[in-house]
Amino acid sequence: MAPVTTGATGDGPEREGEALAAFLIRRGLQAIIVVLIVTMITFALLRMIPGNVAVAVMGPGAYRNPAAIRQFDRVYGFNLPWWRQYFLWLGHLVTGNLGFSWKDNQSVASLLANRLPKTIILVGISTLIALIVAIPIGVLQAVRRNKFTDHAFNAFSTIFYATPAFLIGIILILIFAIKFPILPPEGPQGEGLGVVLTNFNALILPITSLALLTIALFSRYMRSSVLDNLTEDYVRTARAKGASERRVLIRHVMRNSLIPIATLVGLSIPGILAGALITEAVFNYPGMGFLFFQSAQSQDYPVLLGFTVVVAVATVVGSLVADVAYAVLDPRVRYVSA
């Protein structure tokens, strides 16, 4: 099932509401299946990683202590077939228990609870800023196509689109924290949202670093989308009817041009939760991305699986948000069985 574009637009609001509800239920059920499949594949892939997990956790000296290895395997179920381990894990998941990190000595839920808000603040705000800045830039570029403004912003987006995240981060730190020490070289330090929000100046550089990359991406999409729409028949018709250029642009072109951006935003939701590894690492702001990296390094499977569940759910939700956004932006889209 998916939102489909139909020629008919005469359905009543009641019918439309029912269709949307049915669509959401269908997608919700699909989502559960998708998340289950993702966790199953992830679980199987993790078990295929070469090497002994107990040794990975305990380090090179683990072999000195075979009893400890056996105990580790018994406690964490590694003496069972992988599918039984999976169903054990799934059973815990259903009861809200995401497991316990072997390396961090904390429950996965508490790790996620600490890291997720930090990541949402960092990536969410930078995405929001990027949207606010990129949409007008894209429109402006399209309207002034092949003029200086277009070339200038093209150069801007090409440079930042092509620049690695770490380089932007390091340059910002060198300039604004070391050469001219007006901002901290690291993100807010400490646990909890309160610490993050009360040290907002520490977020300026990481947010700027991420936003510059995202602005470059979004503005390019927006520019090409607006250019496509400007050549459409409905634009010519609107102009022929005497609509002002401003009205054509804002009332007609803008709305249609936002559809690909809605897709991008929907698909960026998992990214907002998954974190920005490089930016987090450069700005000493350990969020979800860095947690995943560390856990992968130490084969901390419970954390990896918990992370996968969160990102899988976010992906499904993001896709759903994008679909709903289509309908809001394009009246031709209706939620019927494909």
């Binding site: 090497g51 072999y63 075979p66 400890a68 070391i178 450069v282």
Partner: protein, 626 residues
């Protein structure tokens, strides 16, 4: 030897896994490029020293190693959590081991800081007399507190003590509590007194009676071994409540110079002086803070910002890729940070990569040949690795005993350096004289099986796979250099960069004893071994036949005899005989011991140096001057 790899792992291999990997991938290139891009260059003043008057109080901030934070407070730490950051940099500040090691830059018993006097011996009985120390709740530190730990070792040591050596049961036949300040260990045979103190008694950390409890109330682990498992489970569960560390009535009972005042699971830790500390050196600082970092590049940014008047770090570190090249005969190069002093710290240990004598790839018989191992050793150019990739911050590993710092354990002959300096001509000669047709830049082949050695057939080629822990720049460069050097005599080495965990899982245990696959020839996890917390570098753990940590499975009756002598006599000649023999036997391939950390110390903070090669940590010695 103790669980040194665990200890080493926390900084050395954690460093390998994260700090170096991240910074090679993210930071190193980034810093270099960004410096160019921003047109910035570091000043090159050497951090000088500031003289002044000692200030009472102040807060010193210490940078934790990259991606490494304290996360386990119970000093009886299992393998999963035992590490330098949890032991040396966290629990030992609050809960003191019975014996403290490290005198200046020597890894020796520190009688001043130990809770007990050195044991006195009568036959096979060691008498340990406690000094007068008190817990912060006012109770004295007694032999019951020592027995609490010893009994816990007996009960759950094999599974839950990360530094398990078999002590006490494997070596001690009886323990007698004579009084609250005196107890006697009678060993099951005559052991070297030094070895017993340095490698067995060194494992003990007295625990307060207030910890001897379970969920259902007080227990008796200090006197009844079978009670200890439940007590361990209770304390281990309490240690999983990280947010509760600073406020816990259990963990607030300390006998060390510091107590926790704040603890965040993200790694921000604050200590304040324990006003009841009864040891000889009371803290001068009013607060000691530990702060976490994702990577060493992130730490360096903050350090540079600190140097520019931004955030504050008093004791941090320089990323190895930013290390100023060290001129010959100097301790350090020109420090890029103004206002700081650069002080390299070398850990008490050895570095090597493993050769699998039990390999079933077909190369096992080749590795078993002494001439082949010696040929390979002549191709390992340790001096060039130190001068090049390590920028001068490393020392050659010359044998099974650490040579940094030079100690009384090191034999006079090995003090003069490695028996196998780089010499491809000698390597070639060893191969040709043993029946190999050497093909430079090709693959050498055995042409005379009777000369090549037992189990090697004519036509066998010198081709080896060498998985190594990726992400550490100097190890990668060292491996590439060895590959190139080996090709000069037709030894083809296929380098296989792999994650650290995969290399250790493959090669950190004797494959036959640990019952893991033997289908590998050479493997390098990069970290070797450090002699902590079993400080005397005897060889029973690493090199004795059949030892599980004897990863390559080297076996020699002569070596075993020499090892036995090191365990049973205090005559230094026993150590010399053993290491001189083994240095030439090459049970492993010795490689340079890279610097552990390039410490940067705020010039207004004193007492940080000399740094302890055992990685013990004494911020109570630190003070500010003005």
């Amino acid at each position: 030897m103790g669980p040194a790899p665990h200890e080493q792992r926390s900084r050395r291999s954690m460093r390998f896994r994260l700090r170096r990997r991240m910074t090679m991938g993210v930071g190193a290139g980034a810093v270099a490029l960004a410096l160019v891009a921003a047109g910035c260059s570091s000043s090159s003043t050497t951090g000088g020293t500031t003289t002044g008057t000692k200030v009472q109080g102040g807060t010193a901030v210490w940078a934790e190693p990259p991606a490494t934070v304290p996360n386990y407070i119970f000093p009886f730490t299992s393998s999963a959590y035992i590490s330098v950051i949890n032991a040396s940099n966290f629990t030992n500040l609050m809960y003191r081991p019975l014996y403290w090691f490290g005198n200046g830059n020597q890894p020796t018993l520190n009688t001043k800081l130990s809770l007990a006097n050195p044991p006195t011996w009568a036959g096979n009985t060691a008498t340990v007399t406690l000094k007068h120390y008190v817990w912060s709740n006012g109770s004295p530190v007694t032999t019951a507190d020592v027995m609490f730990w010893v009994n816990m070792l007996k009960a759950v040591g094999a599974t839950d003590w990360g530094a398990d050596t078999g002590f006490p049961d494997a070596f001690v036949s009886s323990i007698k509590v004579v009084s609250p300040t005196e107890l006697q260990f009678t060993t099951n045979k005559a052991y070297s007194h030094t070895w017993f103190t340095y490698n067995d008694l060194s494992q003990i950390t007295p625990m307060p009676a207030a910890w001897d409890k379970t969920n259902s109330g007080p227990s008796n682990c200090a006197t009844v071994v079978k009670d200890c498992a439940a007590v361990y489970n209770y304390l281990n569960t309490q240690a999983k409540n990280l947010p509760g560390y600073a406020s816990s009535p259990l963990w607030s009972i300390v006998d060390g110079p510091w107590k926790l005042s704040a603890f965040n699971a993200d790694g921000h830790v604050t200590f304040v002086p324990n006003p009841k500390y009864s040891g000889p050196v009371k803290p001068t600082l009013s607060k000691f803070e530990e702060v976490p970092f994702t990577t060493d590049a992130a730490e360096y940014n903050v350090l540079r910002s600190s140097a520019a008047g931004g955030q504050k770090i008093d004791v941090g570190y320089l990323p190895e890729q930013d290390a100023p090249p060290k001129p010959a005969n100097a301790t350090v190069g020109a420090n890029p940070l103004a206002g700081y002093t650069l002080a390299p710290l070398y850990v008490w240990g050895i570095n090597y990569f493993v050769m699998n004598f039990q390999s079933n790839t077909g190369n096992g018989p080749v590795i078993q040949q002494l001439y082949f191992r010696q040929a390979l050793a002549y191709l390992m150019n340790q001096a060039a690795v130190i001068k090049g990739p390590l920028r001068g911050y490393g020392t050659q590993t010359v044998g099974p005993v650490g040579n940094t710092p030079v100690t009384s354990y090191l034999s006079p002959s090995l003090k003069s350096g490695s028996p196998f300096p780089y010499d491809p001509t000698k390597a070639k000669s060893l191969l040709t004289s043993h029946g190999w047709k050497v093909v430079p830049n090709g693959v050498s082949t055995c042409t005379n099986s009777s000369l090549c050695g037992k189990g090697i057939s004519s036509g066998h080629q010198l081709v080896f796979n060498l998985p190594y822990a990726s992400g550490t720049q100097w190890i990668t460069q060292e491996m590439q250099q060895l590959q190139s050097n080996a090709s000069l005599v037709g030894i083809k080495i296929n380098l296989q960069p792999k994650p650290f965990n995969q290399v250790t899982a493959l090669a950190a245990g004797n494959c036959k004893v640990a019952k893991i696959p033997c289908n590998w020839d050479l493997a390098n996890w990069g970290g070797g071994w450090s002699f902590v917390p079993d400080y005397e570098p005897t060889g029973e753990t690493l090199f004795q036949s059949g030892a599980i940590a004897n990863s390559g499975g080297y076996s020699s009756a002569t070596n075993d005899t020499y090892i036995k002598q090191t365990l049973t006599t205090d005559n230094p000649q026993a150590m010399y005989n053993w290491q001189d023999y083994l240095a030439h036997q090459l049970p492993v391939m010795f490689q340079p011991n890279g610097v552990y950390t390039l410490t940067e110390i705020n010039n207004s903070l004193k007492g940080v140096t000399p740094q302890n090669p055992t990685l013990a940590f004494n911020p109570e010695n630190w003070y500010f001057v003005k």
